[in-house]
Amino acid sequence: MSHDATISVRRGFHEDSSAIVIGGLLVALALGIGLGSRPADEAGSRKAFPKGWPNPLAATIEKPQTWDTSPAQALVDKKGKPVGMPILLGMAWIVGVIAGGTLLRGRSLAAVLPGAAALALLGGLAYLLAAQKVVNYYNLEYPLWALLVGLLIGNTVGTSRWLEPAVGGEFLIKTGLVVFGAEVLFSRLLELGLPGLLTSWVVTPIVLAATYWLGVYRLGIPSKSLCMVISADLSVCGVSAAIATAAACKAKKEELSLAIGLSLAFTVAMMVAMPPFIRWAGIDPIVGGAWLGGTIDATGAVVAAGEMLGRELDDKRPAEVAATVKMIQNSMIGIIAFAVAVYWAGWVERSSAGPQASLAAEAWERFPKFILGFIAASVVCSFLFTRSPESGLWVDGATLGFTSRLRGWLFCVGFVCMGLQTNFRQLAPYLASGRPLVLYIVGQCLNLALSLAMASLTFGWLFRKAVEP
């Protein structure tokens, strides 16, 4: 072995490559085990398996369940089944991912194991806070509480020496995004046909670009990455889009934290206020459902608002349209994250001074490579999903049973790490100027206006016959 080769082995993989390897292996494991447990009967029946083929890995991971008065209720699911062991195993998966990443990057495993176990426990605590019924049913998602847990510890007793080597929020979030790719199925984009495509695809890029332009060139917010994260957050689908674009444009952790805080606060308000407003304004329920789907940031809150809208009318269609429009927007995350990464690497970060390499070479140098793992997982799973009804159920079983839960844990612990590494003082300048808040409000108003116009045009007029029973 040459001297150079020895050095490269000792240095290990780059963080992005480690995320791709581990994320890819986990997706492959879920698909492989899912294929091995193909049901003998009705393997292609969505009616028999509404959430895909049962995947044995589902028994190895769970999160705390919703609880009301005692946190002990979080250890039993709605059917009365104890979930304490799968929760512990979920933490073990996190320790495994941190350990795997450490080995791939050529670092000492012994130094990270105690910290990895502590981080997994803190992730469990954040999930427990998010599972309280009021918190859960008003859509205050776990990233907020994970950040809070990290911030509280980091800004009081600080990050201990034994914990520090394991704190790698970016690695966990990048690995989570690669795993997340398996859930982002391009084929879902066509779920509602042309009316759904027009409502999601026309409005979303316009709002994204206009909000970014407004933040950078009109409000003069110095950080372009903050403008991009807020724009993607409000125009695509909230926290998940914010995480993906923040990684694509290398936003600072404080910027992502701020965007998530803004998004969750406005999501709660919009979820509660929009259904009564739609009824008061006499907007057609189907158009109203599409409007909810196109504007409320968080997926769960969209369904909740659609249900609230349809409840008084005894009509399920608003919730169905709202959920499907949001699902189409969900499926755009891959394309948006890839486009943002290319734009950032090729244009925003390109230096104007010094010797100029070709645009492609410079862009490739700066391109966040883990995005390729995210896109690859998405393309492979989308291809498998569309091959046949059986393979669709195979992919659903792997993603709904395992990868989506693992991705949740990875993001949760990733946000704990981000909180641990953030100083309250670093957040102060962002909050003091008030400009990010103005950007969010103006961008959301544009989103509300354009989405209502497009929903009225598509679901209310052009394709009205398609939505009438």
Partner: protein, 81 residues
């Protein structure tokens, strides 16, 4: 008292105490208010998880609704003609 609040461990203890009071006393009390209780029950009854970050976390997977499926097929057939 002042020394407790300014020491790092003291600040963490105070923050933890606040979290415990909010999560174990205040939030369960808020949850028993009629309007909040109605919202929570309606969501539970409908099998809705408002905290879902992505569609894969929903308790019911959104699928193309049957009422639109039929209409879209008809619409595509008409387009082909």
């Amino acid at each position: 008292m002042n020394r407790v609040v300014t020491s790092p461990t003291g600040r963490l203890a105070v923050a933890t105490a606040i979290l415990l009071v909010v999560w174990l006393v205040i939030l369960p009390w808020v949850g028993r208010r009629p309007a909040i209780d109605r919202h929570v029950r309606a969501m539970e009854k409908g099998g809705i998880n408002p905290a879902a970050m992505f569609y894969t976390e929903l308790e019911r997977l959104p699928l193309r609704p049957p009422w639109i499926e039929q209409q879209l097929v008809l619409w595509l057939e008409r387009g082909a003609e």
